[in-house]
Amino acid sequence: MDIKNLVSKLHPLERKLLPFISQHQELQVLVNASGLQEIEVMRALQWLENKKIILLHTEKKKQVSLGKNSQAYKKTGLPEKIFLGVLDQEFKGLNVITKKSKLSREEVNACIGVLKRKNLIEIQNKEGMEIKITTSGTQSLQQKFPEEIFLQQTFPLDEEQIIDKTTYDELRKRKDFVLVEELKIVTATLTELGKEVAAADLSIEVINRLTTEMLKSGAWKEKQFRAYDVEINVPKIHGGRKHLETEAIEYIRRIWLDMGFKEMNGNFVQSAFWDLDALFVPQDHPAREMQDTFYLHGKAALPKIWEKIKTTHETGGVTGSKGWRYSFSKEETEQVLLRTHTTVLSAQTIAKLKKEDLPAKFFAIGKVFRNESMDWKHLFEFDQVEGIVVDPKANLQHLKGYLTQFYHKMGYEKVRMRPAHFPYTEPSLEVDVFHPVRKEWVELGGAGIFRPEVVIPLLGFDCPVLAWGQGMARIIAEYWNITDIRDLYRNDLKQLREAKVWIK
């Protein structure tokens, strides 16, 4: 690369540091010499290395320094030497020796160990411990102990420079004698390119940041802009974001709105009447006995229409049906629960419709609840996409048409219907889409045409009502490669900040 060009790209920190590198290599030295902060030097070195101006070399080193005790002994003398000094050639009791030496009990114990190992003392146990000095002990008092020699060195010391390893190892075992610290030594050396750059004229003044001042005065005209390395990465920033699920739901809402559907909304807390009985779910249906519905305390107030529903259950009423032929329980229908499906909104919507409102189409995207423990594929609260078409001319082909269109927009080419059973629809069907990657059919939810026993009491007359309730969690989770469904609602801020947007 052109040296001049390279020079122009140097950051002021690099510019300031570079001249020092030709004389010094070590990071600490560079910090001292340049007067920059350590972090600034580190950054500059990193950038210079990226530009191949220098080579960085990191070496790990163990640095040895003196501990609290050894620093003190350096002044007062080694305790074992003091201890040895007060001994006689006759055995003497430990208490007497300790008193004379003015050492602590702990120090004395350490001294006895050290001196015994070196064979400088002799010990006998009569009435308590008695100690005397040996001949070699007496001789040793004339010379410096290896420990004393060791302590005389200049610290801190590179571990590799220690000659008397035996003494060093001994001292390391003693309390607060030597401290060993691991150091990273960073050194920088100029490359061939670096030498050329360092030799170039670095003094040219460049504009680092364009300022209002410069713009006002026009001072920028005489100067050169420092060129950036536009190819390197910059620190990440995060803006505000919608929740992943919101993005997907907005997309789904748009599809139904575009197809001419009106949005429905309603309560999570519902009566069994609206959630189940209005939908002709028999009161003794196995699903109602199952413990997967959340119940609340208290009794719900029933709308006037409840007696019509009761008759429909018991005898079919005016619907042309035989009904369930049992006695309808008011107590059962008054129970308060968390809605088990968004179909409750469809029932409530139909109950408000008049003949002149038809044809009408509605949708809802809302939470439904199941009394389950959360695990990787179950949540106690999840989203359902609900839709109804109330149209005197509606038929099963239309149902397939609407759902196929919807799933096309969700990215699934092939849609299949299979027979199924729900108490409130007839025909009932299961909707599968063909997964383009996994190459298999995936079940996404139920659909059908509401039974006359549902429609007639609520609407006042018979009319085909196409209906569906589809689970979206699978599709949404899959878009973000989420395999544990709980991750969708974990509110992990990193995930929410960094996830890709929903585009279909």
Binding site: K361, E381, L396, H398, M417, P419, H421
Partner: protein
Amino acid sequence: MPTVTLHVSTIEKMLGKKIPLDELKDRISMLGTDLEKIEGDEIHVEIFPNRPDLLSEQGLGRALQSFLNIKTGLRHYTALKSNYQVIVDPSVTMRPYTACAVVKKMTFTDERIRELMQIQEKLATTHGRNRKKSAYGIYPLEPINFPIHYIAKDPATVKFKPLGFTEAVTASDISELHPKGKAYAHLTKNWKKYPFFIDSKDKVMCMLPFTNSEETGKVTPQTKNVFIECSGIDLDNVTKALNIITTMLADMGGEIHCVEVIYPDKTITTPDFTPAKMNLEPSYVNSTLGLHLTATEVQHYLARMGFGTEGKTTLIPAYRTDIIHPIDLVEDIAIAYGYENIQGEIPNVATIGDEEPLEKIKNKIRDILIGLGLLEVKNVHLIAEEDSIKTMGHEKGIPLKNAISEYNQLRPSMLPSLLKTINQNQHHEYPQNIFELGRTFHPNKNKETGVEEIDRLAVMLCHETTDFTHIRQICDALFASLGLPFTVKEVEHPSFISGRAGEIILNKKKIGLLGEIHPQVLTNWQLTIPVTFFEIDVAEIVELKKINH
């Protein structure tokens, strides 16, 4: 849902031809049963609760035979006349109905006996609603001395040996000693007497709804002829159960004989295979399915589902329990026609799409807050009781009666949810400025369910230098963008630092709270970084925006 195991070999024998496994699998799903898995020769099929007649290999095989166009139309079953009698005593008020039959010339193997027991269990679980509506018993015929008495007795006065026992016990101990007694004791609460089948020589055949007797109620490979009773609280239910069981045994090669059931006020003969009749207009079929079938085609498809026809009248097999309205026939025609042959079509009908005003406002709020750099989070609406205690000073959550996890309340405020979010994200980068649009729940006697649901916005700022000014700025920016003036009135609230909390007032109504979260609350949530917060009702904004338009 209960499952049935089909054997490919049995199916092939019934169909009279080999059928590729893939095709068989596909046909089973398209018949309206759910294929669960295939293991060697065995196909496991889930049966929907509306079709108890498919709970046996014979029943499902019969349906497949018709569906695959091998043997179509109404099957004729005959119940031969006989002198067998069951006398129903007026005392059986707790389970007043029974329907009975005798089946002869059966061949039972150990395997088949096991199957029979399983089918009985599955039928009692689904059709009998866990024996609540009805339960069924099958007995070797020979030891029985007719007429049989169906009678309720004080169990302390009856002794018999229940199925699986070696000793006779007093009947009042069955609910504690016998596994089935324990399992179904809840159905007999407050019963002083229990129904028994007892033969004319005083032999106890069974105690309902628990168990047969070991001596007279055990079918073995030597058994050739059996007596069957289906008893319960609903006559239609027990006769249908009997029809399902007897037609299945007939398909196994049995010969069905009638039983006279003598009630105090009437006598009926069971089983009765006379098909029920239902009128079906082809136009109803066509308008529902969007097809143009002729009357003949309608008859053809009905035959493919095992129905008979006489002109516009459909003859419904006596074992079908689910045909209560002509629409049920329409579904069966659709199944025979093939759901896969239904074409998708979007009709040319103009309707105008429309958003919920609430959703519209919520989306606007989202846009504004995202513009201010906030991150949306979404929490569940249930919280643990402990969460609301930690948050201090809020009304209690609405308890759920039967929650199986620790999340057992509907949240009264958004604050615990957002504190939880911050608590769980302490390892991530700050600032953590988040918001949530969701619901809170409050007791309100004027509401249908006693619960009022309020759509709310909550904003939480969490970083070293967040303070009242900062949260107020977000609030100001939001309301300025919405074009709504609001005021703040100082308030004391245990969740907030005293002197640093205010009520948000819009259109003279208190719509929320704003302030710096109290350090004790933060400590309760193990947070070590300051948090500011506001929470408002969205409904009032929706109302004001409606008026403005």
